[in-house]
Amino acid sequence: MEFFQMLVFPGLIFLSVYSFALEYFDRIVYARLQNRQGPPWYQPIADFFKLLGKEVIVPASVSKLWFKLLPVFAYAANLAAFLYIPLTSANSLYPFSGDLIVVLYLLTIPTLCFFLAGYISEGVYSGLGAVRALTQLFAYEVPLFMALLAPAILADSWSFAGISAYYSAHPIMMLVNIPAFIIAIIAAQGKLERTPFDAPEAETEIVAGAFTEYSGKLLALFRFTVDAELVVVASLLAAVFLPFYASNFIISFILYLLKTVFIVFILAVFKGLMARLRIEQIVAFCWKWLIGIGLLQIVLNVIIKGAF
């Protein structure tokens, strides 16, 4: 039964199907925002299978083992993080106290894999992309942690179950976390490397950043990882900032879909509104604004915690 759950729901197969669906949704919203028709619903799947059919070229001077393993690592880390996030009830598959922290750390692994993939590729574009990916990690990671930990401080629990329990008891407290939610959305945009924080893979500057030397199946797996990351991050934000569930499984599942679609909708609109920032502008913005507001939020939450 447990193996079935890991494989089907909420595991591998659900994550795969839903990441294609959310990529489609992301692309269609982005297209409609730009007054375009957008792709047909099967486009993400078609792209994936087309890439699977392409030749894999490994640069001659690169360690073949690592070059092939890194996409798998990145995807595996995403899947592992996904298994700890509660989707349809307050408890995930393996709940324990402190699972929020574990998920955050697991989510850092894909970015590190992107960095390593670019670094070992030995190309100039991939090298620059790798350095930028790592620089960006330092810019968004701190505000993202702060934004996600602020609700946890208020709930006095490092676990999803605890957060859910607290906010079910005091639903009005969810409103306190709105600034943190906005920071989390912006930082998530950086985490997912989307405009305006897509400097690590800015196509007009450094081709495809860290993935420049990747092709065929390996690139397909990386693209798949990026899609899966979108699902995982959306689920994570939903679990922390909108932690309410229904008792019925079906209703709860629909609620989960609505929550994640809502978050991806915000992310997609956000993507269409701005020009890409330079890497040093990203760092300056994240440390100047996001961290400042994040700190205020944490102080506010601590005060509220003490007052009530």
């Binding site: 925002l33 007054n35 100039v124 305006p196 007009t204 450094i206 081709v207 701005m274 890409r276 330079r278």
Partner: protein
């Protein structure tokens, strides 16, 4: 990083629409040196004009550039007509002016979109290209083609403006004006645009003059220079319009100059529609052009276009020389790139609205014997050597046995 990183941008690169090679030397993310290699897109246009008659050469010249096709053909024709001593009818001059300004509209809108794309602002890119489509629809309706209009002919224009077209043009102008005012507002109010464009690709007034920049690049450096005003042609002497300048000397200034020029173009089109005289649209031209030399100038959307034509009394030109506006702007490029971030390189390159195939000229290779003929094998060898010096080994690429053209 102790060693400076050398990055090749091009010949094939996602931010370049045509091949050109920029070798950028980086210190961290800062550009400390830029080397520009062009010539990948040479098509021998000038030479092929010398083996065609004036009518055929007109269509070759029209294809020097896909965007400023009307500029090149009008510039060429005004030279040929001057040599032949033919005055084109007034109505034809009005129609040529309208097309020139419509071309400026769609060229500037296209550029605005490309600039948006280069800084990752794809929404702006899609919106401006959507609006540009309105202009292209009008052009297709008026002349039957979307980009290479084929409206010009020796002695006048080929298609007349019908009354129902005039209403369509007015409607389009109103729409573009409304949208363009929105872009002006957006350029002045969006913080990310300002963050990416202000202070980038600086070219001071003195440098702009020193490197011989033309068109919007020169005007964005605060120099009031426009061939339509300095050396008017067609009916420009009588048209009231402003020469837009901006003195911020950066890419942002180039954006502002271009969006404001769109409004000026709309003003000019409206003036032409209001004051259009009746009459013929074509004057009789001789097939053989009397011997002589002429230089003609034209303000293309990208800047001043100069054509030199030498006629020898037959129906075939002896020499046609094209100085496209992009060619004049290339020289300031290395200067503008220096000191900025790598991330700004694409937008700085795009900011002169470069047209690579307009620019590329032939290179003659001399071998040791002093002969000017170089065979295929020698060119291939030279190519392999050239790229080996840049650190790329292409000698392992196999050629097909026979190349089918």
């Amino acid at each position: 990083m102790s060693k400076n990183l050398v990055i090749p941008i091009g010949p094939q690169h996602p931010s370049l629409k045509e091949p050109a090679c920029f070798t950028i030397t980086l210190e961290g993310e800062k550009v400390i040196e830029a080397d520009i290699g062009i010539g990948y897109n040479h098509r021998g246009i000038e030479k092929s004009c010398e083996s065609r008659n004036y009518y055929q050469a007109l269509y070759i010249i029209e294809r020097v550039c896909g965007i400023c096709s009307h500029s090149h053909s009008t510039c060429y024709l005004s030279g040929v007509e001057k040599l032949a001593g033919v005055e084109i009818p007034r109505r034809a001059a009005f129609i040529r002016t309208i097309f020139g300004e419509l071309e400026r509209l769609h060229s500037h809108l296209l550029w605005l979109g490309v600039a948006g794309h280069e800084i990752g602002f794809d929404t702006l890119f899609m919106y401006t290209w959507r609006d540009r489509e309105l202009v292209l629809d009008i052009l297709a309706m008026l002349c039957g083609n979307r980009v290479n209009y084929g409206i010009n002919t020796l002695g006048g224009v080929r298609r007349d403006l019908e009354p129902q077209h005039i209403d369509d043009i007015r409607r389009m102008c109103a729409k573009i004006e409304e949208r363009n005012n929105y872009y002006v507002n957006l350029a002045l109010s969006d913080a990310t645009l300002a963050a990416r464009l202000s202070g980038v690709g600086m070219l001071s007034k003195e440098d702009a003059l020193k490197y011989g920049a033309v068109g919007p690049v020169l005007r964005a450096s605060g120099v009031k220079s426009d061939t339509r005003r300095n050396d008017p042609y067609l009916i420009y002497p009588e048209i009231p319009f402003d020469v837009i300048t901006y003195d911020s000397c950066d890419v942002f200034g180039r954006v502002v100059v271009r969006v404001l020029e769109i409004n000026e173009s709309i003003k000019i089109i409206r003036y032409c529609l209001d004051n259009m005289p009746d009459g013929d649209i074509i004057a009789k031209m001789p097939r053989k052009i009397p011997a002589g030399e002429v230089v003609s100038r034209y303000e293309a959307p990208r800047g001043e276009d100069v054509h030199f034509i030498k006629a020898n009394g037959t129906d075939i030109p002896e020499r046609v020389k094209v100085r496209a506006p992009s060619e004049a702007n290339w020289h300031s490029m290395a200067h503008m790139l220096k000191g900025d971030y790598l991330a700004d390189t694409p937008i700085i390159i795009a900011a002169i609205d470069p047209c690579y195939s307009c620019t590329d000229r032939a290179i003659t290779l001399n071998n040791a014997a002093g002969s000017k003929r170089t065979d295929w094998e020698a060119i291939r060898k030279h190519g392999i050597e050239f790229y080996r010096n840049k650190g790329v080994d292409v000698s392992r690429i196999l050629l097909p046995e026979k190349i089918n053209y």
